[in-house]
């Protein structure tokens, strides 16, 4: 074998060895670059998320500000809050000199959309006491609505059936 052929064989072997060493490196580089491209594409797709978040935060703060500035608010939709409303209502009944006969409570969706806590009160009392109770009811900070009021016949003290809806916060 001529020296040229031997040198050529050595060159080919070296070339192969170099390729063998460098090919995995090339593979790793290609893999890393592909992943970088995918990540960049993901980031480009979600580029506006931060701005949207800031805008949503700002809008929420505006809504909260408006809500806090309102004279009336919704009752939290929690058992504790419902119990508190019931106690408050009972207190107002007593303070108005009405005699509570029965008080029922149930959750209902008013007008098909608005969650509410509906109290059905059966009380005895005169017109003045009823007037005081209605005024007291209107002073509550929660949004309330007298759905129906039925005054039975009688002399001075009459039986009154009142349905009061207390608007609840919508659950998220």
């Amino acid at each position: 074998m001529t020296p040229g052929a031997r040198i050529a064989i050595v060159a080919v072997l070296l070339l192969g060895a170099s390729a063998g060493v460098l090919y995995p490196l090339h593979g790793s580089l290609a893999e890393a670059q592909t992943e970088v491209e995918l990540l960049e594409a993901d980031l480009a797709r979600d580029a506006g998320v931060h701005d949207l978040l800031m805008a949503a935060h700002a809008e929420r703060r505006e809504v909260e500000q408006r809500m806090s500035e309102r004279a009336f608010k919704l009752c939290p939709n929690t058992p504790e809050a419902e119990h508190e409303v019931e106690s408050n209502l009972q207190t107002r009944v007593e303070e108005s000199k009405l005699q509570s006969v029965k008080m029922d409570r149930r959750n209902e969706t008013l007008d098909g959309t608005d969650p509410s806590l509906v109290f059905e009160l059966l009380v005895d009392g005169d017109g003045a006491a009823l007037k005081r109770f209605l005024c007291s009811l209107e002073e509550m900070s929660w949004v309330t609505r007298v759905l129906s009021m039925e005054i039975a016949s009688g002399s001075n003290t009459r039986r009154i059936n009142i349905q009061i809806a207390v608007m609840l916060e919508r659950k998220s």
């Binding site: 129906s148 005054i151 916060e169």
Partner: protein, 461 residues
Amino acid sequence: MKRRKSGPVAVVVADDQLRGAQSGERGMVTASVGLGDGFKKSLRQLLSSAPFVGRDLVLGFEGSAVLIESLVLPPGGAKDARKACADRLKGDPLFNAEKAHLGMAIESMPASDGTAPSALAIMAAINKERLAEVMKACHEIEVNVMAVEAAALATWRAWSGTGVQARLVCSGSQAALLAGQDDKLLFCRTIEVPIHAPELQATIARAASVLACEGFASITATGLDETVAGPLAGELGLAFEAPPQAVADAAAAGLATVGTVLADFTPPEERVLREKRRVRKVSVVMAAVCAALVLGAGVLGTQKIRATEDKQANLKSRLEIVRADKHALEEVSADLQRDQANEQIIDHARPGHRMSTLFSLVSQSAGDGISIETAKVVDQPLADGKTAGAAAASSSGPRRRMLDVRLNGLARNGSAMRAFAEALLATGAFTDVRIEASERVLLGTGIEGERFRIYAQAETR
């Protein structure tokens, strides 16, 4: 760093000494040592005795180990030159085919006087045993033998000349007469030292006949003592000239000068080894270059991969932040929707009236002649032909509602009843007040009265 350009170290292997020379950028470096301690040791001493560069050697044999002859070949005999040379040495006790390597150079003789140009062979033979001994020593001290030739033939390269020339080169115990034309050596014969005039004269005549010239006007001589040169020139009737450049050792200088080697005696195994060394050297250089390239590419590639991975990590962290933002956006959006829905609930559901006021208006409108037995107020949504939910969804402010008021009672008379109804209407709170039924009844005290049922509507938001 600039690499020094030096040729191989020329080593003349004589019978009793080694002489070395190397041409380099700083001129010719020369040295000589005796062969008293053996060839190997002497060679080491020679190489270390002067600033020789590298381990490449060119060996030139002279003395008893070399035989040089010039033969004029018959016309057409160039083809059988080797056979003619071998025949010439047949029977020689030191240089026969078994004991010596034969080398030769065939030159064409210049044509003269209408004769056809003939071939001339300069034959050199080197004793195999001596050559093997020297090569073994060279291997042992790890020097690379680039070429082996007869030192006498190499002296022709010591300096250049033009035209027909004859040179007398004396070195140690041997002298050689060389003759040629321009750079071409055509005749060489060794002469015993001390030089005897008749032998030299015969040799000069032989050279002249070989070169087909009548004689030489002058001979360039080197290494010849002036005490010897003067009488010798006188006896021969010739002039000895100094070479155009001072050459202390023409044989070593010729070996150290790059030029055509007339007869290379390098053993075949040495040639193979030389080729192998050359292949190895080229392979090592290629491997080194390849390794450097691979290393460079590897380092650059690794750096690139690391940079890409850093970028990847950075992008991943940014993506995590974006994902967190997306998650937060979903939560905030849900909260916002809930808050907006709650705000809408307040807008829709908050009554546009005060029930206490309505109750007061009804109470105040009822005069002395009116006794309300039962009252019923119902607050209900105003559908407007649509479903309540749809109406709620479409409207932006408080939802329109209708208060239905039903009053049953007794009036003192019809006028009082109508006055009551008109008073209700006059409050402005009711959009419609209707007396649905009335009938005269006899009250318990014998007084007649009017039992009535009034229906009133109050639209509100």
